[in-house]
């Protein structure tokens, strides 16, 4: 997959539905960065994120499983992700996580993950 087009890779646990992922992906799309989603039977979001990051030609990966979303880069060790947040807790949180993953690619400052808290 490393020879695919440059994109953020999102590795999600196979039980995660498209509807659940929608906000996360919209956040990435609004920033104008390509994204690729694939499903796996792994349950550890850290492993999913790390695998996604090393697969991504942009070096940025997301892992989604067990109520967590993890953003990491191909340079970080598996157990030390860059950002880990709760997933699908409503509000705009997932949009912001998606947007920030794209902003890491674009090298622009990230948005506040939890505005107003």
């Amino acid at each position: 997959m490393i020879d695919g087009p440059p994109a953020i890779c999102v590795h999600v646990h196979e039980a995660t539905t498209d509807a659940h992922l929608a906000d996360l992906l919209l956040g990435i799309e609004e920033e104008g960065v390509p994204v690729e989603v694939s499903r796996h039977d792994h349950l550890n979001p850290l492993v999913l994120a790390h695998d996604a990051a090393v697969t991504s030609r942009l070096g940025i990966g997301l892992g989604v499983a067990l109520d967590y979303v993890v953003i990491t880069t191909d340079k970080l060790p598996e157990h030390r992700p860059y950002v880990a947040r709760y997933f699908a807790r409503g509000g705009r949180a997932d949009r912001i996580v998606g947007s920030n993953a794209a902003r890491i690619v674009k090298r622009i400052p990230l948005r506040d993950f939890a505005p107003g808290t």
Partner: protein, 607 residues
């Protein structure tokens, strides 16, 4: 034993020089620097003094009973204050324009049409081109669906949105149109009016809406109307996306706020100057009056209010009625301040002209004698108030290797710039000028539009860097530094201030170079201007060239770039200027404390 402690109580720090007389010689044993407790010149200082003294004694391995005498400084009786007033403002009436830089606008190009609410789209039937206005109650897929549906029977040329969904909508449209999003006060966008919308390519800025003739072409304006839209076009320069709406009474005005006049009152003449004319003319007027006795602003104007505010603050600090406060020096600096545009609907900002003013007020002698009495009672050691601060500073400064009289010292503090000169015959002059560290902080704060004074202080004091990747930063000078641990996400891609205790990300969306320039320019305009102004005043011939050596002392001399800026500026006058190195070991600190100890030894030796 013959041990003396010279103690300098400053605005920010209390410094001790501990020395012992051995025969004819005075041997320095230890120094210490402790933050001053309370406001300089009040009893609250004593706590800090005792602490500082104990630290120095510990370092020297001595105890309090070895101290024969303590000398404290006769503080300079001046305090300073700063103020800033904008002298222009931009007002939008009737929501005639939106000009801002949303992070991700949608689409590309120019669209002209009549504004219509997205809710009315289904029932509309017109041949006119339309610009759709959508508030954030409509999610992106709903907006896209309605626009796609309507594009069958209507001509839609653009969209204005409240939510940050420009790209999402754009990606879902069959017919692409320019979209301006993140318009926070979308309710204020007038409906049924002719509007033009422009979104520039990535990395470009709007070209048609910022051009008066471009607007004339789009709206069919005659030559008279075109003259009217110049301020509108001008205020859109530099934006990536913009909307202009043509309403009957809509307009963008740049108003000059009448700033009023300043009057410099001298012994036998006074000079008026219009603040509107800028800092150069104000400073020229100040030079025409020798021995300024008071400076007043015209009542009922901005500058009048500003000077009044300063008088009230100073009155409170010195326990005087504001009427009795005499402002004896003033430094004016032109600056630019980002101000929210009145009537704007997308948090537009405009750079407005402003004048920053630092003033200085002479006060009564501070209560140093009383502090000395209280201290003597508490410690059981004689405490003397020794000599004028500036003279002591010169004595201390002369311990810098490579210096000789005639020598001038420049002490740039927070509130005032003090200069004194010692001539070859030992006589001296000293002066105090308005404008110092606080003025620089104020300029940085206002020019960068920072909320907090502390953030501006940080920018003034420490170098900047930009976080480039998860593992590295790039310093101001272009060098790269790597870290073993990943840098925190909230610092990612931001400009950070490199404080000794760690990096602090700045919450401002400006390139590092811009922030650096604001900082350097503020320092140059205050410190360099005042260094030259001060030296001219203490020079016997009113010429900076007639001073051979200039030594920088005090807190600002510790700054990472001020000494270089001053050294560079004074080199043009062939003056040797640089940061002091008191006793060859203390750097620019401890000058007054050292001078106090030396003066005691000299008096003892003479006796």
């Amino acid at each position: 034993m013959g041990m003396v402690a010279g103690i300098d109580i400053g605005n920010a720090t209390t410094e001790v020089a501990l020395a012992e007389r051995r025969g004819e010689e005075l041997v320095f044993l230890a120094s210490s620097t402790i933050p001053t407790t309370g406001i300089k010149g009040t009893e609250a200082n004593i706590k800090g003094v005792v602490h500082a003294l104990r630290v120095a004694l510990d370092r020297a391995g001595r105890s309090m009973d070895h101290v024969e005498v303590i000398r404290i400084n006769e503080a300079a009786p001046v305090i300073g204050d700063v103020a800033m007033e904008t002298i222009t403002e931009t007002i939008i009436t009737e929501s005639t324009m939106i000009g801002h830089n949303p992070a991700t606008p949608g689409g590309l190009g120019i669209g002209v049409g009549t504004t219509i609410s997205i809710d009315d789209l289904a029932s509309a039937s017109t041949a006119e081109p339309l610009i759709v206005v959508a508030d954030h109650s409509h999610p992106h897929d709903d907006v896209a669906r309605r626009l796609n549906h309507a594009s069958g029977h209507l001509t839609i040329t653009g969209a204005i949105m409240q939510a940050d969904d420009g790209n999402l909508v754009h990606n879902r449209l069959h017919t692409k149109i320019p979209i301006v999003d993140e318009v926070s006060l979308i309710d204020k966008v007038p409906l049924g009016m002719l509007a033009a919308i422009e979104v520039a390519e990535v990395g470009r800025i709007v070209e048609t809406l910022s051009n008066p003739f471009g607007l004339a072409t789009l709206f069919g304006l005659d030559s008279g109307d075109t003259k009217q839209v110049v301020p509108l076009a001008r205020s859109l320069v530099g934006n990536r996306s913009a909307v202009v709406i043509k309403t009957p009474a809509g307009d963008v005005k740049e108003r000059r706020i009448p700033a009023g006049t300043l009057t410099f009152r001298g012994e036998n003449r006074h000079v008026d100057v219009d603040v509107d004319r800028g800092s150069e003319e104000i400073m020229a007027a100040a030079q025409q009056v020798r021995h300024v006795e008071d400076i007043v602003g015209e009542p009922g104007t901005n500058v009048g209010g500003m000077m009044e505010k300063v008088r009230v603050t100073m009155g409170q600090l010195t326990n005087h009625s504001p009427r009795d406060i005499r402002i004896t020096d003033l430094l004016a600096v032109d600056t630019q301040v980002p101000q929210q545009v009145a009537g704007g609907i997308a948090n537009e900002f405009s750079m407005e002209a402003a004048v920053g003013i630092a003033v200085m007020v002479k006060t009564d002698r501070l209560q140093m004698q009383r502090i000395a009495t209280d201290m003597a009672a508490e410690l059981g050691i004689p405490v003397e108030v020794g000599g004028v601060e500036a003279d002591m500073a010169i004595r201390g400064a002369l311990t810098t290797p490579g210096t000789a009289v005639p020598l001038a010292i420049l002490d740039i503090g927070a509130g005032s710039t003090d200069a004194s000169v010692m001539h070859a015959d030992g006589s001296g002059t000293s002066i105090h000028l308005a404008g110092a560290g606080n003025m620089v902080t104020l300029m940085i704060q206002s020019e960068l539009g920072l909320d907090s004074w502390d953030a501006a202080e940080d920018i003034k004091r420490y170098p900047l860097a930009r976080v480039e990747t998860v593992f590295n930063i790039r310093h101001e000078d272009g060098t790269v530094q790597f870290f073993e641990e990943p840098l925190p996400p909230h610092a990612y891609a931001r400009v950070v201030v490199l404080k000794p205790e760690g990096m602090v990300p700045l919450d401002i969306d400006l390139p590092l170079e811009t922030i650096r320039q604001v900082r350097v320019r503020a320092k140059e305009r205050v410190f360099v201007t005042n260094a030259v102004r001060a030296l001219r005043k203490v020079s016997p011939t009113a010429n900076v060239r007639d001073i051979d050596f200039v030594v920088l002392v005090g807190g600002s001399a510790l700054d990472f770039e001020i000494p270089q800026l001053v050294t560079k500026a004074l080199a043009e006058y062939r003056v040797v200027a640089g940061r002091a190195n008191i006793r060859g070991t203390e750097g620019p600190r401890n000058a007054v404390a050292t001078g106090l100890a030396l003066s005691w030894a000299q008096e003892k030796g003479a006796r």
